[in-house]
């Protein structure tokens, strides 16, 4: 089947480097999501895979075949675009069959039966005789998917296919894409700027920024063990708080608090992120990362002997399922997620504690993560943090 390998892949547009030396292995049948902010090079990477842009340097292999300079039509990939890219003057059926008929690789009977199969899989039988203008956004994207699957390609390339849909439909289509993938098991590369899509759909997620890969991992690993500040802040909503601290003797020292950093001497898995615990014993500057939901208002929790931190509430945002507090801890702005319906108001000073298993430290300058207090990765046998009981 089809594994896809990118080696030292580069793409420049004039002086602008869109994709900067990417190495990536996409496994056969994998659903890989590439996520990143606008202009990070994720769509360009996808277009390089499709052959719609020539590579500046590097190599693309599909199923052990070098396809770097191969024409798009000879790569046997199908692409789904954000704007659906349906031919506006053709019916759903003709949209699906046009490519197959034009390439002349398929017999009419085969095309017919494949269209029927695809229409059934996607539940679009009643759309086949309609033109795109008579379809809703979701229906159009379904037809576009039909056009992609009917050719039975080696690789699906999806460029933000859900971004033009409204929120409710997006969630529905997301589930449908996941179902479709588990049914077809075709290698899929899915580009999105939406981290929720990335987390929910991806078997693995590639986080890109400035044309480079920041981290490739399973969604939960990305979330729990971000390799650098960029991933930490990009994945997770609301974003992780970044608090400048000094490391002194295994403690993180801030103007407003001093908190102990659980030592991880006995854990082998720290190697995964290159974190050794000598790094928290030497004095240095660092950035402490704590997710909003890893803070707790200490007066609503049982006291577990952890230091408390005083935070002044600036803004109160009830989100329904939780309450987001925009606070100041000393001079640092910080978001804290609290239980819904908590009686806290702007101007109050609250006392908060934190989950000691969920602390992250990043290099001051490079932003590389060098310490995660929850030492065991989900891939290990059990998820236990060192301190929690």
């Amino acid at each position: 089947m089809t594994t896809v390998t990118l080696q030292n892949l580069q793409k420049s547009f004039g002086d602008v480097v869109a994709v900067n030396s990417i190495d990536l292995e996409i496994e056969d049948g994998e659903f890989l999501v590439v996520v990143g902010p606008s202009g990070c090079g994720k769509s360009t990477t996808l277009r390089l895979l499709a052959g719609l842009e020539p590579t500046t340097d590097g190599r693309i292999e599909m199923g052990n075949r070098d396809v770097t300079g191969v024409e798009p039509k000879n790569r046997n990939v199908a692409m789904v675009f954000q704007n659906y890219a349906l031919y506006p003057h053709m019916t759903g059926r003709r949209n699906i069959t046009f490519g197959m008929k034009s390439s002349g690789d398929f017999s009419d009977a085969e095309i017919e039966s494949r269209v029927e199969d695809a229409a059934e899989t996607l539940d679009i039988e009643d759309l086949l005789d309609r033109k795109p203008e008579a379809m809703s956004g979701g229906e159009r994207q379904r037809v576009a998917l039909g056009r992609a699957i009917v050719r039975d390609p080696d690789v699906f390339l999806m460029d933000e296919p859900l971004s033009n849909l409204d929120a409710k439909l997006r969630i529905q289509m997301r589930a449908e894409l996941a179902r479709l993938h588990s049914a077809l098991e075709t290698t899929t590369v899915y580009v999105t700027h939406d981290q929720t899509e990335a987390m929910t759909l991806g078997e693995r997620v590639v986080v890109m920024n400035d044309g480079q890969i920041m981290q490739v991992d399973e969604p939960q690993v990305l979330y729990d063990f971000p390799a650098n500040r960029f991933v930490a802040e990009f994945i997770g909503d609301p974003a992780m708080n970044m608090i400048p601290v000094d490391i002194e003797n295994g403690h993180a020292v801030h103007d407003a608090f001093t908190l102990p950093l659980p030592s991880g001497d006995d854990s082998p898995s720290t190697e995964r992120n290159g974190a050794g615990d000598t790094r928290i014993s030497d004095a240095r500057h660092a950035i402490l990362g704590i997710r909003p939901e890893d803070f707790r208002l200490s007066d609503v929790q049982t006291d577990d002997g952890l230091p408390t931190i005083d935070a002044e509430v600036n803004v109160r945002e009830p989100l329904g399922d939780s309450l987001l507090l925009h606070c100041s801890i000393g001079a640092t702005a910080c978001n804290i997620q609290a239980e819904p319906r908590t009686e806290v108001h702007a101007g109050d000073t609250v006392s908060v504690t934190y989950d000691p298993a969920r602390l992250h430290l990043f290099e001051d300058k490079t932003g590389e993560a060098f310490y995660h207090s929850g030492l065991h990765l989900p891939s290990d046998e059990q998820v236990v943090s060192q301190v929690s009981k």
Binding site: G51, K73, V77, M79, G99, S102, S103, K131, R151
Partner: protein, 294 residues
């Protein structure tokens, strides 16, 4: 008054409209009315116009020379319209596909359109002249004896080619705009599907461009009937043996060589009606087959 009033005084608005009205009336509506009137008269130099009723029309109805001129004009228009549209479409497609130097190609395609018709005709004369023409040698090398000063069908082809050559620029301007409006993702989808370039042009681009194409068919039809006078006049003068004597040239000769203003007016009224009917048919077809997006 329910309409929005921009000007406080009617006199002011009337004064501002006056130049346009004056030009339209003096140079358009009055001559049109006069031509229709003259078509019912026997009119020439040195004589008082004499009302003859439908006689001029009856004359034309019986004039076999006029019949062949009418048929020739329709054939000429068909060739020119089809030629202009297809050549322009293909050139537009090539320009659309090319990655570098688009502007240069565009300019070189458009420049014949920028020439005044008479200059264009003279330039084309030096391109296609039977003995001096720059293209004559290469064409004769293909085994064709270039002799359109004497050979009627050749003369027809040469005048048609000149008319096509002159009008391509205008068409390309509109077509490239329409083609560039087609989303790139459609092109990319077609490329991924292995759809050939020509197939992509004919099955994807052309249907989406139909509104522009129908507009151009109408403009080109008007051009073929009315705008090609200079080519006939300067290249062939309607000859040899009336092989290029299309209606617009025929009526010019009737009026300004033979000074039969009455018959010439009748011929222009007929030409006007012929083109008018064609327009009507084309508009109907446009409604039917045009794709206006959704």
């Amino acid at each position: 008054m329910s309409t929005r009033e921009i000007f406080d005084s009617r006199i002011e608005s009337g004064l501002l409209l006056l130049p346009t009205l004056l030009v339209s009336i003096v140079f358009l509506y009055y001559p049109t009315a006069l031509a229709v009137r003259t078509s019912f008269f026997d009119s020439s130099f040195g004589q008082v116009d004499e009302f003859v009723g439908m006689e001029n029309y009856v004359t034309l109805l019986a004039d076999s020379g006029y019949h062949s001129s009418l048929l020739l004009s329709i054939l000429f228009a068909a060739v020119v319209v089809a030629g202009v549209i297809s050549v322009s479409l293909y050139l537009t497609f090539l320009i659309h596909e090319v990655d570098t130097g688009q502007g240069l190609y565009l300019i070189s395609v458009i420049w014949p359109y920028a020439l005044p018709p008479a200059v264009g005709a003279l330039v084309f004369l030096f391109i296609a002249h039977p003995t001096l023409g720059v293209l004559t040698g290469p064409v004769e090398a293909l085994g064709i004896d270039v002799d359109w000063f004497n050979n009627g069908p050749q003369a027809f082809v040469v005048v048609a080619l000149a008319a096509i050559w002159k009008q391509i620029g205008y068409n390309v301007i509109f077509m490239i705009a329409a083609m560039n409006n087609i989303p790139d993702t459609l092109t990319e989808t077609a490329e991924l599907d292995g759809v050939s370039g020509i197939r992509r042009l004919l099955s994807v681009y052309v249907p989406i461009m139909t509104p522009t194409l129908f507009f151009l068919v109408i403009i080109n039809t008007i051009y073929a009937f009315f705008g090609t006078f200079a080519f006939v006049d300067l290249l062939t003068s309607g000859g040899p043996s009336n092989a290029t004597n299309i209606l617009i040239f025929d009526l010019y000769q009737e009026g300004f060589s033979f000074f039969n203003f009455g018959v010439a007016s009748t011929k222009s009224v007929v030409l006007f009606l012929v083109v008018g009917v064609l327009m009507l048919v084309q508009f109907r077809v446009t409604e039917e087959y045009s794709y206006y997006g959704g």
